[in-house]
């Protein structure tokens, strides 16, 4: 067993130099020998542990002695499955955008809009969290804090004909599609004027005029639904792409693969976006998925997949815009994107969060926060001053506060709406 450093593991694996090269080839990440040598004293950091465990497994080194390399609950069976599957060859890949490419290719106004949208979502969600803690919001409430870069990067190029659908973590998509905050607050507070007449609540938000098809509570359900939306766009010769969002937990639902098959078979214009925030409720990806490179989950249907950094909305913009244009104009058929991201808050407001460390959350916040990322970009590239951005934040905070206060003053929905909208009583007009 090991106390602090991991000297014996590193020596068993042939020393720091050899290990560095291997880790590089595993993960396509840049890691240098100096870092690896530092583990001799300081121990292997969490994010590299699984990769090192894979090396031990491949070399037939008795891994049971090094169980501390595996996340809680992950078994050697899980690791073996991951290791076997990762070796299968792949067309899919990890996409990266360099800072240079971003600087020369992303318009300044777009960067600013992305920043504004993310900030609006963050401040909105923070307020929602407060209202929930005050007992003003009922039921389940899943916040998007930490994941803003994904939706903001996509919204920066999506058109008004493009369609969106997601699961229950849907407040941000609603903000992003431009619903007035007041209507969303009213829905969450169960008030008259809610966007779903206070019938749906936090998990069931919809915006039909901007083709946001909701807000679905059953994990995985949105994937065939989104595929059907893409089917209808193709059927009606509409030039539109469907963005279908789902989680790293949802990827294990069977209906996802039934949908993938049809999307590929019929070459539907859809981009599936796995928002991999590393956990489905309290279960980490490694404990739920035999093959953890989720962007490759469409390969057996001929669906190309790409991993992108969802914490860098500028990279999301640059990389996905290109893919989007291909799907839209070149009719490439479905594409699968895995956006690596992270949620800072619990799964829902009632999650005790014992499955991960505070440190892990803290480190992600400090090093990968999508809002901080764009903020520094704006300042470094002299697009906006720090002062400017502070004012912007105050402005957004006020907008959020005003909408929430206004919503709190509104009354409950009329009781005579109870039986309204069970059926659509309008006639089909041809």
């Amino acid at each position: 067993m090991i106390d602090n450093g991991h000297a014996d593991i590193i020596s068993k694996l042939g020393g720091g130099k050899k290990l560095t090269a291997r880790l590089k080839s595993f993960t396509e990440e840049n890691i240098n020998e100096k870092t690896v040598y530092s583990w001799v004293q300081q121990g292997i950091p969490d994010r590299w542990k699984i990769a090192v465990a894979r090396c031990l497994l491949e070399d037939n080194i008795e891994i049971t002695h090094y169980k501390d390399l595996l996340p809680p609950g992950m078994t050697i069976d899980n690791l073996t499955a991951a290791n076997n599957s990762i070796k299968i060859f792949s067309d899919s890949k990890v996409l990266k955008a360099s800072e240079k490419e971003i600087i020369s290719n992303v318009d300044k106004n777009i960067v600013l809009n992305i920043y504004k949208l993310m900030l609006k979502i963050r401040r909105f969600e923070e307020k929602v969290g407060q209202l929930y803690s005050m007992g003003l919001i009922g039921g389940f409430c899943h916040l998007y804090i930490g994941q803003e870069g994904v939706i903001a990067g996509i919204e920066s190029f999506a058109g008004s004909e493009d369609c969106f659908i997601t699961g229950y973590r849907c407040h941000a998509h609603m903000v992003s599609r431009g619903e007035p905050l007041l209507n969303i607050f009213c829905e969450l507070l169960g008030k008259k004027g809610g966007s779903s007449m206070a019938k749906g609540g936090s998990m069931h938000l919809f915006k039909s005029d901007k083709k946001f098809f909701g807000g679905h509570g059953i994990v995985g359900a949105q994937v065939p639904l989104g595929t059907g939306i893409a089917f209808s766009n193709k059927y009606l010769n509409k030039k539109a792409v469907t963005f279908c969002f789902f989680g790293d937990g949802a990827v294990n639902q069977g209906q996802v693969y039934e949908a993938f098959n049809m999307a590929a078979l019929w070459q539907l214009p859809i981009i599936y976006i796995i928002e991999n925030n590393q956990y489905g409720m309290g279960t980490s990806v490694e404990r739920a998925s035999a093959m953890t490179e989720l962007f490759r989950r469409g390969e057996s249907f001929g669906i190309k997949g790409y991993e992108i950094d969802g914490m860098d909305p500028l990279a999301v913009h640059l990389l996905l815009k290109k893919i989007y244009n291909q799907v839209l104009n070149e009719k490439t058929g479905p594409i699968l994107i895995e956006a690596k991201t992270y949620r800072y808050r619990g799964h829902s407001m009632s999650d005790p969060g014992k499955y991960r460390t505070r440190q892990e959350i803290q480190q992600t916040r400090e090093n990968r926060d999508p809002i901080e990322r764009v903020k520094s970009f704006l300042i470094e590239n002299k697009i906006k001053s720090e002062d400017n951005l502070k004012k912007l934040d105050l402005f957004i905070k006020e907008e959020v506060l005003n909408a929430s206060e206004e919503a709190r003053d509104i009354g409950l929905p009329d009781e005579n709406t109870l039986f309204k909208d069970v059926y659509d009583i309008n006639e089909n007009i041809k």
Partner: protein, 323 residues
């Protein structure tokens, strides 16, 4: 006597049975490391290890089919659905693979399995997360359907379910998990197919199950103040339903009220009333009454949600009209 919560007694009962039979295992989403989404399986992973307390991916159709397969080949799975709403993903296996196989195989392959988890109306979670599946499953030959109210029900019925050689649907209620009751040691095991008279009475029979009993008991209390002596009947088993107990009670009181959270059409109350009309029509002094969930998907808003469900006050009013 010490009281205990429904949540704890379910866990204790599972543990007790698992200690007796190594073929019993628990599987489902978040049952292990997370200690259960509603903390029902708290501590079970520690005691029984990950071989017998199995965390699954979110893949209900898959793990339900897998568990049924394991039951076909000699194990005795307890499948936890995080809520019964998510069992909709797996209902094909429950009905086509679990309920029908013993019959279809001419008695060669039995499926000793328990499907359990919270059913019914939760609080403010809207239509997709709030629904009573009692009538759905009690429609199906080959299934047994149990619906506990208090800790005595939960413990006795769960033991019976786990020992049974057939697929058993065990419908818990999220809003009852925290409720504490004193365990009645005289009823350590409860026979499947038997209802329970919770309170004897002579003026009207109030029949319900699961959380509907909270309303039934409250209704009975208010009626008592009005000098109406209600008999309160807890169905406990929804399939096979205990016709005799229902019939005998109505013969005595000549009036009946049935309360359910679920929707009325083709519901449990409809079934109970059919039994009464078919068997003891002549004993009825007045038309049978049923109080069900309103015929709408459950709304989120607090005031609308309340209106969508039966309440003691409205039931009392109607009862006083017939009593």
């Amino acid at each position: 006597m010490n009281s205990i919560s429904v949540r704890e007694i379910i866990r204790d009962t599972i543990a007790e049975e698992m200690r007796l039979d190594p073929k019993i295992f628990l599987l489902g989403e978040e049952v292990g490391e997370y200690q259960g989404a509603y903390k029902v399986s708290q501590g079970l992973l520690d005691e029984f290890g990950s071989k017998r307390v199995v965390d699954t991916p979110i893949t209900e159709a898959g793990f339900t089919g897998l568990a049924i397969g394991a039951a076909m080949n000699g194990l005795r799975p307890i499948v936890e659905f995080m809520t019964w709403n998510f069992a909709m993903q797996a209902i094909d296996h429950i009905i086509n693979s679990a309920a029908k196989t013993f019959y279809m195989s001419g008695g060669k392959i039995n499926i000793p399995i328990v499907f359990r988890g919270p059913n019914g109306i939760a609080s403010r979670v809207a239509a997709q997360h709030s629904q009573d599946y009692s009538s759905w499953y009690s429609h199906i030959p080959g299934l047994k359907v149990l619906s506990p109210y208090d800790v005595t029900d939960a413990s006795g019925l769960l033991k019976a379910a786990i020992k049974d050689n057939n697929p058993v649907i065990f419908l818990e209620h999220e809003l009852l998990y925290n409720e504490k009751f004193v365990l009645d040691s005289k009823e350590e095991t409860i026979s499947i197919g038997k209802a329970k008279v919770m309170k004897k009475g002579s003026d009207v029979t109030i029949i319900s199950y699961s959380r509907g009993l909270e309303i039934a008991i409250e209704t009975g209390k208010i009626l008592a103040q009005e000098n109406v002596d209600a008999e309160i009947l807890n169905l406990r088993t929804l399939k096979p339903i205990d016709k005799d107990t229902i019939i005998n009670s109505v013969k005595k009181t000549n009036k009946v009220v049935v309360i359910e959270e679920g929707w009325s059409q083709s519901g449990v109350a409809a079934e109970v009333i059919s039994i009464i009309v078919e068997n003891v029509f002549d004993y009825l002094d007045t038309e049978p009454l049923r109080f069900s969930g309103k015929d709408i998907p459950l709304p989120y808003a607090e005031n609308l949600e309340k209106l969508a469900l039966p309440s003691a006050n409205s039931i009392v009013k109607k009862c006083l009209e017939i009593c």
